[in-house]
Symmetry: D2
Subunit: 341 residues, 4 copies
Amino acid sequence: MILFTSDYTEGAHPRIIEKLAETNMEQTVGYGEDLYCEEAREAIKKVCEAPEADVHFLVGGTQTNFTVISSILRPFQGVLCADSGHINVHETGAVEATGHKVLALPSKEGKITGQQIKEYYDLHWSDESREHIVQPKMVYISHPTEVGTLYTKAELEDISSICKECGLYLFLDGARMGYGLMAPGTDVTLPDIVKCCDVFYIGGTKVGALFGEAVVITNPCLKQDFRYCIKQKGGMLAKGRLLGVQFLELFKDGLYFEISKHAIDMAMLLKDGLKEKGYEFFMDSNTNQQFIIVEDAKLQEIRQKYGVTYQERYDETHSVIRLCTSWATKEENVKAFLQDM
Amino acid sequence: MILFTSDYTEGAHPRIIEKLAETNMEQTVGYGEDLYCEEAREAIKKVCEAPEADVHFLVGGTQTNFTVISSILRPFQGVLCADSGHINVHETGAVEATGHKVLALPSKEGKITGQQIKEYYDLHWSDESREHIVQPKMVYISHPTEVGTLYTKAELEDISSICKECGLYLFLDGARMGYGLMAPGTDVTLPDIVKCCDVFYIGGTKVGALFGEAVVITNPCLKQDFRYCIKQKGGMLAKGRLLGVQFLELFKDGLYFEISKHAIDMAMLLKDGLKEKGYEFFMDSNTNQQFIIVEDAKLQEIRQKYGVTYQERYDETHSVIRLCTSWATKEENVKAFLQDM
Amino acid sequence: MILFTSDYTEGAHPRIIEKLAETNMEQTVGYGEDLYCEEAREAIKKVCEAPEADVHFLVGGTQTNFTVISSILRPFQGVLCADSGHINVHETGAVEATGHKVLALPSKEGKITGQQIKEYYDLHWSDESREHIVQPKMVYISHPTEVGTLYTKAELEDISSICKECGLYLFLDGARMGYGLMAPGTDVTLPDIVKCCDVFYIGGTKVGALFGEAVVITNPCLKQDFRYCIKQKGGMLAKGRLLGVQFLELFKDGLYFEISKHAIDMAMLLKDGLKEKGYEFFMDSNTNQQFIIVEDAKLQEIRQKYGVTYQERYDETHSVIRLCTSWATKEENVKAFLQDM
Amino acid sequence: MILFTSDYTEGAHPRIIEKLAETNMEQTVGYGEDLYCEEAREAIKKVCEAPEADVHFLVGGTQTNFTVISSILRPFQGVLCADSGHINVHETGAVEATGHKVLALPSKEGKITGQQIKEYYDLHWSDESREHIVQPKMVYISHPTEVGTLYTKAELEDISSICKECGLYLFLDGARMGYGLMAPGTDVTLPDIVKCCDVFYIGGTKVGALFGEAVVITNPCLKQDFRYCIKQKGGMLAKGRLLGVQFLELFKDGLYFEISKHAIDMAMLLKDGLKEKGYEFFMDSNTNQQFIIVEDAKLQEIRQKYGVTYQERYDETHSVIRLCTSWATKEENVKAFLQDM
């Protein structure tokens, strides 16, 4: 069985495993205050061109999202996001469990616009009964989105400037950040993200690490006491150096970008091959997630040999499926799959 | 610098690192539904002699505590524990953050008694204003406790039978379970714990794993939908197999018990050596944490070469310090330390 | 200035004021355990034909909604409701503040259908990733709805039977219950509501009382320890007898129904008069809230003499406004308003 | 049966009932934005000598406490209070239900000291593991306390200056404020409280109103968006003018102080009479709550004719009971009680 179900089907990039083995019996202090974490923080600040930023390591994405959001909002404030946003649909209400409403906006290909945000904001503040309504105070976007699409630099800057104008904090979920940065045609760089966002994270779990997400806080107002929040929400790993070692390796010699590029190459191989064979795409994605429409009978057949993710029903006889590549995807597997299609 | 500061100063037992490396490029499904997790669950049920139990893997201790507690209690219910209990003092109010009051009882050497529980329960239910008071519904104990002590089988059975009588759930925090089970003089076995508790966990983070805690739910009423809770609270690891691989290795050929025994041997070497040299103990512990009283000047000197944890002030010229051994402690380091004392 | 802005512009029905004055210096115990509360509970059970129900008095609607919902759901469960539902739009995220996601369904004229509920339920339970999604466990409906419409008995029974089939609790917000029961054409009675719902409340604030909502719990599984919830959520009035006295008076000699009928008569007078004058209605309502479309210039003019509630923009030159009648509405005021229109 | 059980056994002062009746059929806007509320806010600011303060009206004490506390603290912050404090013992964990730990300090006669606060603060900030511990950020005191005692002006100023020094917010629960201000021997005035506290409330429920608490926010940093908090937490009364009318009447012509004085006179009559008869006092109180030690047999006898509150067991044959006077206590009842003792 060959799995294209997700970007977390394997362990970690071999260099990370080696480094973990190599440093295994060293003694360090816990909770992210060791030297590996310190160096990894510096490496991330460097690649972000953000020497003043704070960097923190957490274990997983859902945890990162609710920890960041609940650290910032007051009880009556909510977070705007695409209705397809991960926090709105796939985190078992983790944000609401911290007390905050997720304010879902209709989205197009997983994205929202600055204009939508502005309109929502204006509607709230022009309403005489606004104290009876959740106050929007933060915007959450995913880049790449949950359906593989990307914001352009112009779109991102538009959202960012509207957020600044409205006093909304902009939080970018970069669980698949690497796959976005290395996508063909994107004009968004890591320093662009730094400039646009108040806080964001660089995903490790889906991009070569065993686990781990690196939160980067650029807005100084949001820095204070964030470590208390990590601890309270269960994200402070006792053996914090595991996160340091992994992120340090990922950001040494550009490994993070190199393996992200590999995933993209494999995704493009898949995309081009499927296009050639006449498959229709549900969403035009240049990142590591590809969404195609297949006949149900064909899907049955595919599943004899391959793991794919059922996304949704397309029509009575067709389904939408998701195919993921990753840092670990083997070219031979993509080719075998294409042949079978 | 040699660290005796905690039981999480190293990575994982070499056999775990090897197994993680060996299985690294295998493809598995995520979120704990892979075969390694399945086998690890079976191994744990076997060693617990609890074929009907549910076993779940979470990443860390604080996370495990608040996930278990909040999955069980209704909003107005609280959890009784020793005032020295980890959830009461060292989890940044993580349980309260889920909405529940921690009902701290005065403790002796880190322990509470069945009688204390019964009295608290009776006081609550005999109070005409009880609806104005948090309702006790759960008891949390640590075994070993935060100060290294252990419940006897009789004490545990007493607490358990009172909990059953009062309709209170008994939850045992076994972050250092292995070190308790292998302590000299203890009469408590894993199956005893199964019989006494409604839910408990077997710690991996402090006993040989990179991270991970295995929650064992024995009370059938507490099993339903626990995976939703894990996900919502951020404890569902995407690459769940990492937890499966680790726990499977720990419970193969008795590795968990063997390495726990090693930590205890090192702790007893330390204890006996220090006793011989005339050091006074703050707490009589037969587990891997030893608490001694040292002169402040001596402490200064120790800290030139060794990492130890400051516990509390003893008197004007003395401090209490904590020394931890673990599965990873080297005999030569203990001997060197003793020599320097 | 004559106000048609809401159904809480006056104090209480004079008989209630009299009764409060008359009983004012009597001494009673607090927190709803006095004889007035006891009698009022009996009166409500009688009119509901529900001798086994539990009845509790709370102060206001938002408070009642989040207290009931949070008393029932486990942390990962959510409540389905119309997107126009009060808990979704006008309670400042009060339900989310207790940790639960409000699962908004598209609504038609403020209502949802059994079929929508069934589809949502089926979608959830057929999803392999359902543990990553909030579990639907309760349905919240308003009767009358926020836009003045009513469920038919058949619709209500359909929702109820689907809820029972799916193990979902049905909670009915009856903040304007009286105005629904007395509406022309409705076939829904209070005993029908008892039969269909697991829990509901009869609004006092908007129907003749100074304040107060009577929660009726018919499902025995939801009764336990509800008073702890009321206290914790701030809804347990010290001088609880104020609620008892008011509800006792409302349900003596059918006062509640009589004054509700008056509000409906006034609303129908208004509706018929406006229809006659050619005004268009935004929503066809037979209850005490009437929604009409007016030219912006006309609205300006109206506001010189009358208070009305701006609902939403209709088109570039027209607005939708809400007009409320209540137990306190004077016929002369309605007639004056009609004349000015 | 004559009740001395609490200070909320009657309705409201007759002048309040009259005013409610008189204004009953007036039409006003809701939610505290009417003219009565506006005037009442002005009256309170005047009597507080605090023209810059914000004043808000809520319905009850528990509600006020958790609304104020949760509006101010970040998730990982807690509130220091006496272990006997109302929020710690008699609010069913309402503060914890909003996510915050109540940090109970040992108290003497219901009070805590500036020194205790300073020591707790210093201990926290000197602890290297402080991120694992709830951060103290607020101090809650009751004046009068739950056992009838009072802070002196010097004690209050000491607490206040330490709070300012440490960046802790000082919140004073004045549920029985009037009885404190009119107590013989007190040197604390309302303007003193304004100067010392960041936020406090003046209780209405126990001092002549049907219900209602007036929150006074003096620290400008705590003012923003408090009305959203009131609404979310269920404290925003639809017919808000009821609170305005009541507080306006209470602060017209000094009624609040006059009726508080009456309660104190009755309490002193009781105290002196009981002293004369040789009864021992559990606590020396100059406010409206008196705590005496009685033989169990005597208590049985008392309860034939009088309602009193059982406080706690004193010894095998004696109990501590609480006797409350209020604005409504009749001198003849006190005298009858004294005679029977």
